[in-house]
Protein backbone atom coordinates (compact mmCIF):
# COMPACT_ATOMS: atom_id res chain seq x y z
CA UNK A 1 0.00 0.00 0.00
CA UNK A 2 1.20 3.52 -0.65
CA UNK A 3 2.70 5.16 2.36
CA UNK A 4 0.23 8.02 2.35
CA UNK A 5 -2.83 5.87 1.90
CA UNK A 6 -5.12 4.87 4.76
CA UNK A 7 -6.15 1.24 5.00
CA UNK A 8 -9.23 1.12 2.74
CA UNK A 9 -10.83 -1.58 4.84
CA UNK A 10 -10.47 0.46 8.02
CA UNK A 11 -11.91 3.44 6.20
CA UNK A 12 -14.83 1.29 5.14
CA UNK A 13 -15.39 0.17 8.73
CA UNK A 14 -15.16 3.74 10.02
CA UNK A 15 -17.59 5.00 7.43
CA UNK A 16 -20.15 2.23 7.35
CA UNK A 17 -20.09 0.36 10.66
CA UNK A 18 -22.82 2.50 12.25
CA UNK A 19 -25.25 1.77 9.44
CA UNK A 20 -24.32 -1.93 9.41
CA UNK A 21 -24.68 -2.13 13.18
CA UNK A 22 -28.20 -0.70 12.94
CA UNK A 23 -29.03 -3.34 10.36
CA UNK A 24 -27.60 -5.98 12.71
CA UNK A 25 -29.72 -4.59 15.56
CA UNK A 26 -32.89 -5.04 13.54
CA UNK A 27 -31.88 -8.49 12.32
CA UNK A 28 -31.07 -9.51 15.89
CA UNK A 29 -34.39 -8.34 17.28
CA UNK A 30 -32.69 -5.35 18.94
CA UNK A 31 -30.49 -7.59 21.03
CA UNK A 32 -27.42 -5.40 21.29
CA UNK A 33 -24.95 -8.13 22.25
CA UNK A 34 -26.17 -10.36 19.45
CA UNK A 35 -25.97 -7.47 16.98
CA UNK A 36 -22.38 -6.73 18.02
CA UNK A 37 -21.46 -10.37 17.55
CA UNK A 38 -23.11 -10.46 14.11
CA UNK A 39 -21.27 -7.35 12.98
CA UNK A 40 -17.95 -8.68 14.26
CA UNK A 41 -18.44 -11.96 12.40
CA UNK A 42 -19.39 -10.23 9.18
CA UNK A 43 -16.55 -7.70 9.28
CA UNK A 44 -13.98 -10.37 10.17
CA UNK A 45 -15.00 -12.35 7.12
CA UNK A 46 -14.64 -9.32 4.91
CA UNK A 47 -11.30 -8.49 6.60
CA UNK A 48 -9.99 -11.93 5.67
CA UNK A 49 -10.70 -11.19 2.04
CA UNK A 50 -9.07 -7.80 1.88
CA UNK A 51 -5.91 -9.12 0.20
CA UNK A 52 -7.93 -10.23 -2.80
CA UNK A 53 -10.24 -7.23 -2.67
CA UNK A 54 -9.44 -6.09 -6.18
CA UNK A 55 -11.40 -9.09 -7.42
CA UNK A 56 -14.42 -8.15 -5.40
CA UNK A 57 -16.96 -5.39 -5.30
CA UNK A 58 -17.29 -2.95 -2.43
CA UNK A 59 -17.28 -5.02 0.77
CA UNK A 60 -20.67 -3.67 1.84
CA UNK A 61 -22.96 -6.05 -0.07
CA UNK A 62 -20.83 -8.97 1.12
CA UNK A 63 -20.94 -7.80 4.73
CA UNK A 64 -24.70 -7.28 4.49
CA UNK A 65 -25.14 -10.78 3.09
CA UNK A 66 -23.05 -12.34 5.86
CA UNK A 67 -25.03 -10.38 8.46
CA UNK A 68 -28.29 -11.74 7.11
CA UNK A 69 -27.13 -15.33 6.61
CA UNK A 70 -25.39 -15.44 9.98
CA UNK A 71 -28.41 -14.03 11.78
CA UNK A 72 -30.53 -16.81 10.28
CA UNK A 73 -27.97 -19.54 10.95
CA UNK A 74 -27.37 -18.42 14.54
CA UNK A 75 -31.08 -18.25 15.24
CA UNK A 76 -31.49 -21.78 13.95
CA UNK A 77 -28.54 -23.12 15.87
CA UNK A 78 -29.53 -21.39 19.13
CA UNK A 79 -33.06 -22.58 18.67
CA UNK A 80 -31.90 -26.17 18.16
CA UNK A 81 -29.77 -25.94 21.26
CA UNK A 82 -32.14 -24.14 23.57
CA UNK A 83 -35.49 -25.07 22.09
CA UNK A 84 -36.40 -21.45 21.56
CA UNK A 85 -35.16 -18.48 19.57
CA UNK A 86 -32.73 -16.04 21.13
CA UNK A 87 -34.42 -13.41 23.23
CA UNK A 88 -35.18 -10.03 21.81
CA UNK A 89 -33.62 -6.95 23.37
CA UNK A 90 -34.83 -5.49 26.61
CA UNK A 91 -37.49 -2.79 26.37
CA UNK A 92 -36.35 0.76 26.91
CA UNK A 93 -37.34 2.88 29.89
CA UNK A 94 -41.02 3.65 30.33
CA UNK A 95 -42.00 6.89 28.59
CA UNK A 96 -45.21 8.90 28.86
CA UNK A 97 -47.09 8.09 25.71
CA UNK A 98 -50.36 9.96 25.55
CA UNK A 99 -51.15 9.04 21.95
CA UNK A 100 -50.04 5.44 22.16
CA UNK A 101 -47.58 6.02 19.34
CA UNK A 102 -44.59 4.73 21.26
CA UNK A 103 -46.49 1.69 22.48
CA UNK A 104 -47.54 1.02 18.91
CA UNK A 105 -43.96 1.18 17.70
CA UNK A 106 -42.83 -0.95 20.58
CA UNK A 107 -45.39 -3.61 19.76
CA UNK A 108 -44.43 -3.58 16.08
CA UNK A 109 -40.75 -3.99 16.94
CA UNK A 110 -41.45 -6.80 19.38
CA UNK A 111 -43.62 -8.49 16.80
CA UNK A 112 -40.88 -8.05 14.22
CA UNK A 113 -38.36 -9.57 16.61
CA UNK A 114 -40.65 -12.54 17.14
CA UNK A 115 -40.94 -13.36 13.44
CA UNK A 116 -38.95 -16.25 11.97
CA UNK A 117 -35.57 -14.84 10.93
CA UNK A 118 -36.07 -15.03 7.17
CA UNK A 119 -39.37 -13.17 7.39
CA UNK A 120 -37.76 -10.62 9.66
CA UNK A 121 -34.80 -10.24 7.30
CA UNK A 122 -37.13 -9.70 4.34
CA UNK A 123 -39.03 -6.96 6.17
CA UNK A 124 -35.85 -5.27 7.42
CA UNK A 125 -34.21 -5.35 3.99
CA UNK A 126 -37.40 -4.16 2.30
CA UNK A 127 -38.56 -1.44 4.68
CA UNK A 128 -35.41 -0.29 6.42
CA UNK A 129 -32.71 -0.92 3.83
CA UNK A 130 -35.13 -0.08 0.98
CA UNK A 131 -33.72 -2.85 -1.18
CA UNK A 132 -35.69 -3.90 -4.25
CA UNK A 133 -37.21 -7.39 -4.16
CA UNK A 134 -34.72 -8.79 -6.67
CA UNK A 135 -31.81 -7.71 -4.52
CA UNK A 136 -33.40 -9.16 -1.40
CA UNK A 137 -33.84 -12.42 -3.31
CA UNK A 138 -30.16 -12.33 -4.15
CA UNK A 139 -29.16 -11.66 -0.53
CA UNK A 140 -31.39 -14.41 0.79
CA UNK A 141 -30.66 -16.81 -2.07
CA UNK A 142 -34.30 -17.34 -2.88
CA UNK A 143 -36.76 -16.35 -5.58
CA UNK A 144 -38.53 -13.02 -5.87
CA UNK A 145 -41.76 -14.94 -5.32
CA UNK A 146 -40.48 -16.20 -1.98
CA UNK A 147 -39.50 -12.66 -0.98
CA UNK A 148 -43.03 -11.48 -1.77
CA UNK A 149 -44.68 -14.30 0.13
CA UNK A 150 -42.39 -13.88 3.14
CA UNK A 151 -43.01 -10.12 3.18
CA UNK A 152 -46.73 -10.68 2.90
CA UNK A 153 -46.78 -13.23 5.74
CA UNK A 154 -44.58 -11.07 7.92
CA UNK A 155 -46.73 -8.00 7.39
CA UNK A 156 -49.86 -10.04 8.06
CA UNK A 157 -48.48 -11.06 11.43
CA UNK A 158 -47.55 -7.51 12.29
CA UNK A 159 -51.02 -6.38 11.25
CA UNK A 160 -52.60 -9.05 13.46
CA UNK A 161 -50.48 -7.91 16.37
CA UNK A 162 -51.36 -4.28 15.79
CA UNK A 163 -55.07 -5.13 15.48
CA UNK A 164 -55.03 -7.15 18.68
CA UNK A 165 -53.52 -4.18 20.49
CA UNK A 166 -56.21 -1.87 19.18
CA UNK A 167 -58.88 -4.36 20.25
CA UNK A 168 -57.39 -4.74 23.72
CA UNK A 169 -56.58 -1.06 24.26
CA UNK A 170 -58.83 0.45 26.95
CA UNK A 171 -59.69 4.10 26.96
CA UNK A 172 -56.96 4.73 29.51
CA UNK A 173 -53.71 3.30 28.24
CA UNK A 174 -52.67 0.16 30.10
CA UNK A 175 -49.25 -1.44 29.83
CA UNK A 176 -48.98 -3.70 26.79
CA UNK A 177 -48.59 -7.41 27.00
CA UNK A 178 -45.73 -7.28 24.53
CA UNK A 179 -45.49 -9.80 21.80
CA UNK A 180 -47.95 -12.33 23.15
CA UNK A 181 -49.99 -12.34 19.99
CA UNK A 182 -47.10 -13.30 17.78
CA UNK A 183 -44.72 -15.20 20.00
CA UNK A 184 -46.74 -18.38 19.77
CA UNK A 185 -46.65 -18.15 15.99
CA UNK A 186 -42.94 -17.49 15.94
CA UNK A 187 -42.22 -20.67 17.83
CA UNK A 188 -43.66 -22.74 15.05
CA UNK A 189 -40.97 -24.27 12.85
CA UNK A 190 -40.24 -22.27 9.75
CA UNK A 191 -42.02 -23.58 6.73
CA UNK A 192 -42.30 -22.50 3.17
CA UNK A 193 -38.99 -20.68 3.01
CA UNK A 194 -37.55 -22.93 0.40
CA UNK A 195 -38.75 -23.04 -3.13
CA UNK A 196 -37.92 -26.56 -4.02
Amino acid sequence: MDADAGDPFEEFVRGRSARLFRLAMLLAGQNRAEAGELLEIALERAYRRRATASRDRSPEPYVRQVLVSTSIDRWRSLRRRAGQPPAAGEPGPEVRDATGEIADRDLLLRSLAALPPRQRAVLVLRYWEDLPEAEIASVLRCTVGTVRSQASRGLARLREAAASRVAERPETAAPDQPGTAVTAQAERPETGDRDD
Binding site: D73, W128, T143, L158
Partner: protein, 414 residues
Protein backbone atom coordinates in the same frame (compact mmCIF):
# COMPACT_ATOMS: atom_id res chain seq x y z
CA UNK B 1 -54.26 -0.46 5.35
CA UNK B 2 -51.24 -2.27 3.82
CA UNK B 3 -49.46 1.00 3.20
CA UNK B 4 -50.24 2.04 6.75
CA UNK B 5 -48.57 -0.95 8.38
CA UNK B 6 -45.60 -0.56 6.03
CA UNK B 7 -45.22 3.11 6.97
CA UNK B 8 -45.57 2.38 10.67
CA UNK B 9 -43.02 -0.42 10.45
CA UNK B 10 -40.60 1.80 8.57
CA UNK B 11 -41.01 4.56 11.16
CA UNK B 12 -40.67 2.15 14.05
CA UNK B 13 -37.47 0.62 12.71
CA UNK B 14 -35.94 3.97 11.88
CA UNK B 15 -36.72 5.35 15.32
CA UNK B 16 -35.57 2.21 17.12
CA UNK B 17 -32.04 2.17 15.77
CA UNK B 18 -31.45 5.83 14.96
CA UNK B 19 -29.20 6.35 17.97
CA UNK B 20 -27.49 2.96 17.91
CA UNK B 21 -23.73 3.03 17.58
CA UNK B 22 -21.44 0.04 17.17
CA UNK B 23 -18.85 -0.83 19.81
CA UNK B 24 -16.15 1.86 19.73
CA UNK B 25 -13.26 -0.51 19.13
CA UNK B 26 -15.03 -2.52 16.45
CA UNK B 27 -11.95 -2.69 14.22
CA UNK B 28 -9.83 -3.98 17.08
CA UNK B 29 -12.53 -6.57 17.90
CA UNK B 30 -12.46 -7.66 14.26
CA UNK B 31 -8.67 -8.01 14.31
CA UNK B 32 -8.84 -10.03 17.52
CA UNK B 33 -11.45 -12.34 16.04
CA UNK B 34 -9.29 -12.73 12.96
CA UNK B 35 -6.23 -13.65 15.05
CA UNK B 36 -8.31 -16.07 17.14
CA UNK B 37 -9.54 -17.80 14.01
CA UNK B 38 -6.00 -18.13 12.69
CA UNK B 39 -4.88 -19.61 15.99
CA UNK B 40 -7.68 -22.18 15.73
CA UNK B 41 -6.71 -23.11 12.20
CA UNK B 42 -3.07 -23.29 13.23
CA UNK B 43 -4.06 -25.60 16.07
CA UNK B 44 -5.99 -27.79 13.63
CA UNK B 45 -2.93 -27.83 11.37
CA UNK B 46 -0.66 -28.71 14.29
CA UNK B 47 -2.96 -31.57 15.30
CA UNK B 48 -2.85 -32.86 11.76
CA UNK B 49 0.90 -32.60 11.79
CA UNK B 50 1.13 -34.39 15.13
CA UNK B 51 -1.03 -37.19 13.76
CA UNK B 52 1.21 -37.43 10.73
CA UNK B 53 4.30 -37.72 12.97
CA UNK B 54 2.64 -40.42 15.04
CA UNK B 55 1.63 -42.40 12.00
CA UNK B 56 5.12 -42.09 10.58
CA UNK B 57 6.70 -43.23 13.82
CA UNK B 58 4.38 -46.20 14.28
CA UNK B 59 4.29 -47.53 10.78
CA UNK B 60 7.61 -46.35 9.54
CA UNK B 61 5.75 -45.24 6.47
CA UNK B 62 7.89 -43.53 3.90
CA UNK B 63 7.29 -43.16 0.20
CA UNK B 64 5.01 -40.24 -0.46
CA UNK B 65 4.03 -39.61 3.15
CA UNK B 66 5.49 -36.20 3.99
CA UNK B 67 7.96 -35.97 6.84
CA UNK B 68 7.59 -33.66 9.84
CA UNK B 69 8.44 -30.03 9.30
CA UNK B 70 11.82 -30.16 11.10
CA UNK B 71 13.01 -32.92 8.82
CA UNK B 72 11.68 -31.07 5.81
CA UNK B 73 13.78 -28.08 6.69
CA UNK B 74 16.83 -30.26 6.94
CA UNK B 75 16.37 -32.48 3.94
CA UNK B 76 12.91 -32.78 2.40
CA UNK B 77 10.83 -30.30 0.47
CA UNK B 78 9.02 -27.53 2.34
CA UNK B 79 5.86 -28.39 0.47
CA UNK B 80 4.77 -31.28 -1.78
CA UNK B 81 3.91 -30.89 -5.45
CA UNK B 82 7.01 -29.15 -6.81
CA UNK B 83 7.03 -25.93 -8.84
CA UNK B 84 7.06 -22.59 -7.03
CA UNK B 85 4.36 -20.69 -5.21
CA UNK B 86 3.67 -16.97 -5.39
CA UNK B 87 2.73 -15.28 -2.12
CA UNK B 88 1.84 -11.72 -1.15
CA UNK B 89 3.67 -11.37 2.15
CA UNK B 90 2.39 -9.52 5.19
CA UNK B 91 5.05 -6.87 4.48
CA UNK B 92 3.55 -6.17 1.06
CA UNK B 93 6.05 -8.04 -1.09
CA UNK B 94 5.39 -10.47 -3.92
CA UNK B 95 7.58 -13.49 -3.36
CA UNK B 96 8.15 -16.88 -4.99
CA UNK B 97 8.70 -19.76 -2.57
CA UNK B 98 10.52 -22.89 -3.75
CA UNK B 99 10.16 -26.37 -2.24
CA UNK B 100 13.70 -26.24 -0.85
CA UNK B 101 12.81 -23.13 1.17
CA UNK B 102 14.47 -20.61 -1.12
CA UNK B 103 12.54 -17.43 -1.79
CA UNK B 104 12.83 -14.92 -4.62
CA UNK B 105 11.35 -11.50 -4.07
CA UNK B 106 9.57 -10.20 -7.14
CA UNK B 107 8.56 -6.70 -6.05
CA UNK B 108 7.47 -4.83 -2.97
CA UNK B 109 4.56 -2.54 -2.23
CA UNK B 110 1.97 -4.72 -3.96
CA UNK B 111 -1.22 -6.11 -2.47
CA UNK B 112 -1.50 -9.03 -4.89
CA UNK B 113 -0.78 -10.38 -8.35
CA UNK B 114 -1.97 -12.96 -10.84
CA UNK B 115 0.11 -14.69 -13.50
CA UNK B 116 -1.07 -13.83 -17.01
CA UNK B 117 0.93 -15.84 -19.52
CA UNK B 118 4.61 -14.98 -19.14
CA UNK B 119 3.96 -11.83 -17.07
CA UNK B 120 2.30 -10.90 -13.80
CA UNK B 121 -0.56 -8.46 -13.42
CA UNK B 122 -0.06 -6.91 -9.98
CA UNK B 123 -2.04 -4.35 -8.04
CA UNK B 124 -1.44 -1.81 -5.31
CA UNK B 125 -3.93 -0.35 -2.91
CA UNK B 126 -4.01 3.42 -2.83
CA UNK B 127 -6.20 5.93 -1.07
CA UNK B 128 -8.34 5.98 -4.24
CA UNK B 129 -8.71 2.30 -5.04
CA UNK B 130 -6.33 0.07 -6.93
CA UNK B 131 -3.62 0.79 -9.47
CA UNK B 132 -2.49 -2.01 -11.79
CA UNK B 133 0.97 -2.92 -13.11
CA UNK B 134 2.48 -5.54 -15.37
CA UNK B 135 5.91 -7.04 -14.75
CA UNK B 136 7.98 -10.03 -15.67
CA UNK B 137 7.81 -12.93 -13.23
CA UNK B 138 11.16 -11.87 -11.74
CA UNK B 139 9.89 -8.33 -11.09
CA UNK B 140 11.72 -6.70 -13.98
CA UNK B 141 10.12 -4.28 -16.45
CA UNK B 142 7.40 -2.96 -14.10
CA UNK B 143 4.84 -0.85 -15.99
CA UNK B 144 1.86 1.04 -14.66
CA UNK B 145 -1.02 0.01 -16.92
CA UNK B 146 -3.99 1.42 -15.04
CA UNK B 147 -3.54 4.17 -12.45
CA UNK B 148 -5.90 4.52 -9.52
CA UNK B 149 -8.67 7.09 -9.81
CA UNK B 150 -8.89 10.45 -8.10
CA UNK B 151 -12.05 9.75 -6.15
CA UNK B 152 -13.01 7.27 -3.49
CA UNK B 153 -16.32 6.77 -5.25
CA UNK B 154 -14.91 5.53 -8.54
CA UNK B 155 -12.47 2.64 -8.64
CA UNK B 156 -11.13 0.04 -11.01
CA UNK B 157 -11.96 -3.57 -10.24
CA UNK B 158 -11.72 -6.86 -12.10
CA UNK B 159 -8.72 -5.88 -14.23
CA UNK B 160 -7.55 -8.77 -16.44
CA UNK B 161 -4.87 -9.03 -19.11
CA UNK B 162 -5.83 -10.47 -22.48
CA UNK B 163 -4.44 -13.97 -23.18
CA UNK B 164 -1.64 -12.52 -25.35
CA UNK B 165 -0.86 -9.81 -22.79
CA UNK B 166 -1.34 -6.92 -25.24
CA UNK B 167 -4.50 -5.48 -23.72
CA UNK B 168 -5.94 -4.81 -20.32
CA UNK B 169 -9.65 -5.16 -19.71
CA UNK B 170 -11.08 -3.52 -16.60
CA UNK B 171 -14.30 -2.59 -14.88
CA UNK B 172 -14.72 0.97 -13.60
CA UNK B 173 -17.18 0.93 -10.74
CA UNK B 174 -18.94 4.07 -9.54
CA UNK B 175 -20.54 3.64 -6.14
CA UNK B 176 -23.06 6.49 -6.22
CA UNK B 177 -24.80 5.02 -3.19
CA UNK B 178 -25.24 1.63 -1.61
CA UNK B 179 -28.07 0.87 -3.99
CA UNK B 180 -26.78 2.74 -6.99
CA UNK B 181 -23.63 1.17 -8.37
CA UNK B 182 -22.70 1.43 -12.03
CA UNK B 183 -20.07 -0.58 -13.86
CA UNK B 184 -18.42 0.23 -17.17
CA UNK B 185 -16.05 -2.12 -18.93
CA UNK B 186 -13.07 -0.71 -20.81
CA UNK B 187 -10.11 -2.11 -22.64
CA UNK B 188 -6.82 -0.40 -23.28
CA UNK B 189 -4.22 -1.36 -25.89
CA UNK B 190 -1.00 -1.51 -23.89
CA UNK B 191 1.09 -0.65 -26.94
CA UNK B 192 -0.81 2.36 -28.28
CA UNK B 193 -2.64 3.39 -25.12
CA UNK B 194 -5.92 3.55 -27.06
CA UNK B 195 -8.99 2.90 -24.89
CA UNK B 196 -12.25 1.34 -26.01
CA UNK B 197 -15.55 1.63 -24.15
CA UNK B 198 -16.98 -1.88 -24.00
CA UNK B 199 -20.28 -0.89 -22.41
CA UNK B 200 -21.91 -1.67 -19.09
CA UNK B 201 -20.72 -4.31 -16.61
CA UNK B 202 -20.92 -5.78 -14.08
CA UNK B 203 -18.43 -8.50 -15.04
CA UNK B 204 -16.42 -9.89 -17.91
CA UNK B 205 -13.90 -12.52 -18.93
CA UNK B 206 -11.60 -12.59 -21.94
CA UNK B 207 -12.76 -14.90 -24.71
CA UNK B 208 -9.58 -14.43 -26.70
CA UNK B 209 -7.35 -11.43 -27.27
CA UNK B 210 -9.89 -9.76 -29.55
CA UNK B 211 -13.11 -10.16 -27.57
CA UNK B 212 -14.54 -10.41 -24.09
CA UNK B 213 -17.64 -12.09 -22.73
CA UNK B 214 -19.65 -9.64 -20.64
CA UNK B 215 -22.45 -10.38 -18.22
CA UNK B 216 -25.62 -8.55 -19.19
CA UNK B 217 -27.23 -6.12 -16.76
CA UNK B 218 -30.35 -8.28 -16.47
CA UNK B 219 -28.12 -11.32 -15.89
CA UNK B 220 -30.03 -13.30 -18.49
CA UNK B 221 -27.36 -13.46 -21.18
CA UNK B 222 -23.67 -13.35 -21.94
CA UNK B 223 -22.62 -11.00 -24.67
CA UNK B 224 -19.62 -11.18 -26.95
CA UNK B 225 -17.95 -7.76 -27.17
CA UNK B 226 -15.28 -6.83 -29.68
CA UNK B 227 -12.45 -5.00 -27.91
CA UNK B 228 -11.64 -2.94 -30.97
CA UNK B 229 -15.14 -1.75 -31.87
CA UNK B 230 -17.11 -2.32 -28.67
CA UNK B 231 -19.83 -4.05 -30.71
CA UNK B 232 -21.98 -6.47 -28.69
CA UNK B 233 -23.62 -9.66 -29.92
CA UNK B 234 -25.55 -12.25 -27.90
CA UNK B 235 -23.48 -15.31 -27.04
CA UNK B 236 -25.43 -17.43 -24.56
CA UNK B 237 -28.78 -16.85 -22.87
CA UNK B 238 -30.75 -18.55 -20.12
CA UNK B 239 -33.29 -19.62 -22.73
CA UNK B 240 -30.80 -21.68 -24.77
CA UNK B 241 -32.18 -25.21 -24.83
CA UNK B 242 -28.87 -27.04 -24.22
CA UNK B 243 -28.34 -24.91 -21.12
CA UNK B 244 -31.89 -25.48 -19.89
CA UNK B 245 -31.49 -29.25 -20.43
CA UNK B 246 -28.17 -29.27 -18.58
CA UNK B 247 -29.62 -27.23 -15.70
CA UNK B 248 -32.66 -29.47 -15.39
CA UNK B 249 -30.47 -32.55 -15.45
CA UNK B 250 -28.73 -31.51 -12.23
CA UNK B 251 -31.49 -29.35 -10.70
CA UNK B 252 -34.65 -31.26 -11.61
CA UNK B 253 -36.85 -29.40 -9.11
CA UNK B 254 -35.46 -25.91 -9.54
CA UNK B 255 -37.50 -24.77 -12.53
CA UNK B 256 -35.91 -22.74 -15.28
CA UNK B 257 -32.60 -20.91 -15.02
CA UNK B 258 -33.07 -17.17 -14.56
CA UNK B 259 -29.50 -15.91 -14.47
CA UNK B 260 -26.22 -16.70 -16.17
CA UNK B 261 -22.67 -15.66 -15.31
CA UNK B 262 -19.35 -16.31 -17.01
CA UNK B 263 -16.82 -17.92 -14.67
CA UNK B 264 -13.88 -18.19 -17.03
CA UNK B 265 -12.04 -20.24 -19.61
CA UNK B 266 -9.86 -23.15 -18.71
CA UNK B 267 -6.20 -22.17 -18.58
CA UNK B 268 -3.54 -23.57 -20.85
CA UNK B 269 -3.67 -24.74 -24.40
CA UNK B 270 -6.69 -25.77 -26.47
CA UNK B 271 -9.27 -27.17 -26.30
CA UNK B 272 -10.59 -24.25 -24.28
CA UNK B 273 -13.48 -24.90 -21.96
CA UNK B 274 -15.90 -22.21 -20.85
CA UNK B 275 -17.32 -22.36 -17.33
CA UNK B 276 -20.60 -20.61 -16.64
CA UNK B 277 -22.99 -20.70 -13.74
CA UNK B 278 -26.76 -20.77 -13.88
CA UNK B 279 -29.22 -20.11 -11.08
CA UNK B 280 -32.97 -19.95 -10.75
CA UNK B 281 -32.96 -16.46 -9.21
CA UNK B 282 -31.67 -13.13 -10.45
CA UNK B 283 -28.10 -12.78 -9.28
CA UNK B 284 -25.87 -15.58 -8.17
CA UNK B 285 -27.42 -17.91 -5.68
CA UNK B 286 -30.70 -19.80 -5.88
CA UNK B 287 -30.11 -23.45 -6.81
CA UNK B 288 -26.88 -22.80 -8.71
CA UNK B 289 -25.24 -25.15 -11.18
CA UNK B 290 -21.85 -24.98 -12.79
CA UNK B 291 -21.87 -25.76 -16.50
CA UNK B 292 -18.72 -26.53 -18.49
CA UNK B 293 -18.90 -26.09 -22.25
CA UNK B 294 -16.33 -27.60 -24.59
CA UNK B 295 -17.30 -27.41 -28.25
CA UNK B 296 -20.66 -29.15 -28.38
CA UNK B 297 -20.12 -30.95 -25.07
CA UNK B 298 -22.09 -29.70 -22.04
CA UNK B 299 -21.07 -30.92 -18.58
CA UNK B 300 -23.32 -29.79 -15.70
CA UNK B 301 -22.41 -30.08 -12.02
CA UNK B 302 -24.47 -29.25 -8.96
CA UNK B 303 -23.15 -30.54 -5.65
CA UNK B 304 -25.55 -30.59 -2.76
CA UNK B 305 -25.94 -26.89 -2.05
CA UNK B 306 -28.73 -24.38 -2.39
CA UNK B 307 -26.48 -21.36 -2.41
CA UNK B 308 -22.97 -20.45 -3.44
CA UNK B 309 -21.04 -22.46 -5.98
CA UNK B 310 -17.69 -21.33 -7.33
CA UNK B 311 -15.18 -22.90 -9.68
CA UNK B 312 -11.39 -22.79 -9.67
CA UNK B 313 -9.46 -24.30 -12.54
CA UNK B 314 -6.64 -26.73 -12.02
CA UNK B 315 -4.41 -28.17 -14.70
CA UNK B 316 -5.30 -30.34 -17.66
CA UNK B 317 -9.06 -30.02 -17.31
CA UNK B 318 -9.10 -30.52 -13.56
CA UNK B 319 -11.29 -28.21 -11.52
CA UNK B 320 -12.45 -27.59 -8.01
CA UNK B 321 -15.94 -26.60 -7.00
CA UNK B 322 -16.56 -24.98 -3.68
CA UNK B 323 -19.99 -24.62 -2.23
CA UNK B 324 -21.40 -22.89 0.78
CA UNK B 325 -23.43 -20.02 2.05
CA UNK B 326 -21.56 -16.79 2.67
CA UNK B 327 -18.56 -18.53 4.09
CA UNK B 328 -20.15 -20.26 7.01
CA UNK B 329 -18.31 -23.47 7.68
CA UNK B 330 -21.61 -25.34 7.76
CA UNK B 331 -22.26 -26.62 4.27
CA UNK B 332 -18.95 -25.31 2.98
CA UNK B 333 -17.57 -28.16 0.93
CA UNK B 334 -15.18 -28.65 -1.91
CA UNK B 335 -15.19 -31.13 -4.73
CA UNK B 336 -12.67 -32.01 -7.39
CA UNK B 337 -13.64 -33.16 -10.87
CA UNK B 338 -12.29 -33.49 -14.37
CA UNK B 339 -13.61 -32.81 -17.83
CA UNK B 340 -13.76 -36.53 -18.49
CA UNK B 341 -16.86 -36.54 -16.30
CA UNK B 342 -17.33 -39.14 -13.62
CA UNK B 343 -18.10 -38.55 -9.98
CA UNK B 344 -16.83 -35.54 -8.06
CA UNK B 345 -14.58 -36.35 -5.15
CA UNK B 346 -13.93 -34.56 -1.86
CA UNK B 347 -10.42 -33.52 -0.87
CA UNK B 348 -9.47 -33.64 2.80
CA UNK B 349 -9.10 -30.16 4.26
CA UNK B 350 -8.61 -28.44 7.62
CA UNK B 351 -12.36 -28.00 7.96
CA UNK B 352 -12.61 -24.22 7.78
CA UNK B 353 -13.53 -22.29 4.63
CA UNK B 354 -10.40 -21.19 2.82
CA UNK B 355 -9.85 -17.99 0.89
CA UNK B 356 -7.69 -18.97 -2.09
CA UNK B 357 -6.83 -22.20 -3.87
CA UNK B 358 -4.18 -23.36 -6.35
CA UNK B 359 -3.27 -26.67 -7.97
CA UNK B 360 0.32 -27.88 -8.24
CA UNK B 361 1.80 -27.77 -11.76
CA UNK B 362 1.43 -31.56 -12.11
CA UNK B 363 -2.14 -31.56 -10.82
CA UNK B 364 -1.47 -33.87 -7.88
CA UNK B 365 -1.59 -31.46 -4.91
CA UNK B 366 -3.97 -28.67 -3.90
CA UNK B 367 -2.85 -25.64 -1.87
CA UNK B 368 -5.52 -23.92 0.21
CA UNK B 369 -4.84 -20.43 1.52
CA UNK B 370 -6.29 -19.37 4.87
CA UNK B 371 -5.72 -15.63 5.13
CA UNK B 372 -2.11 -14.51 5.19
CA UNK B 373 -0.93 -16.93 7.86
CA UNK B 374 -1.64 -20.45 6.72
CA UNK B 375 -1.39 -22.47 3.54
CA UNK B 376 -2.45 -26.11 3.70
CA UNK B 377 -1.43 -28.75 1.17
CA UNK B 378 -3.70 -31.71 0.48
CA UNK B 379 -3.53 -34.44 -2.16
CA UNK B 380 -5.87 -34.30 -5.13
CA UNK B 381 -8.36 -37.09 -4.38
CA UNK B 382 -9.18 -40.01 -6.67
CA UNK B 383 -10.48 -40.33 -9.30
CA UNK B 384 -9.42 -36.79 -10.36
CA UNK B 385 -5.78 -37.42 -9.45
CA UNK B 386 -5.58 -40.21 -12.04
CA UNK B 387 -5.80 -37.49 -14.63
CA UNK B 388 -2.39 -36.34 -13.42
CA UNK B 389 -1.08 -39.88 -13.83
CA UNK B 390 -0.47 -40.35 -10.12
CA UNK B 391 -2.32 -40.15 -6.84
CA UNK B 392 -0.44 -39.03 -3.76
CA UNK B 393 -1.39 -40.03 -0.23
CA UNK B 394 -0.51 -37.78 2.66
CA UNK B 395 -2.25 -35.95 5.45
CA UNK B 396 -3.00 -32.22 5.06
CA UNK B 397 0.27 -30.39 5.53
CA UNK B 398 0.26 -26.81 6.85
CA UNK B 399 2.79 -24.10 6.07
CA UNK B 400 2.77 -21.06 8.32
CA UNK B 401 3.48 -17.37 7.93
CA UNK B 402 4.23 -17.09 4.23
CA UNK B 403 1.48 -14.67 3.21
CA UNK B 404 -1.56 -14.80 0.94
CA UNK B 405 -1.47 -17.67 -1.54
CA UNK B 406 -1.64 -16.20 -5.06
CA UNK B 407 -0.54 -18.83 -7.58
CA UNK B 408 1.37 -22.07 -8.10
CA UNK B 409 3.46 -22.33 -11.23
CA UNK B 410 6.14 -24.54 -12.77
CA UNK B 411 9.73 -23.40 -12.38
CA UNK B 412 10.64 -21.83 -15.72
CA UNK B 413 13.54 -23.25 -17.67
CA UNK B 414 16.14 -20.49 -17.99
Amino acid sequence: MAADIERRLRDAMTAAVAECEPPRAIMELVRRRYRRRNRNIAAAGALTLAAAITVTAVTGAVGRQPSPVREHRAAGPLFPGGGRILFATAAGALEWLYPDGRTAQVASGFAGAAPAGPVLLAWKQTAYGFSYYTMNDDGSDIRLVRPAGHSKRVSTIDAELSPDGTRLGYDVQDVVSVRDVTDEIWSVDLVTGRKTDLGPGPGFIWRDSSAILADSRDQRSLQLVSVTTGRRTPFLTVTDQPLIRAYRQVRPRAGLPESIWADGWSPGSAPAVLAISLANTPGTGGQPAEILLRGGQVLPFAPDTDSLIQLSWGVDGMFMLHTGYGDNSVGWNSYVGTLSGGPLSRPRTLGEPWDTVAFSPHGDVIALGYGIEITAFVPVPAPACRRAGRCLHFRPKPLFGRGTLLAWAPVPAR
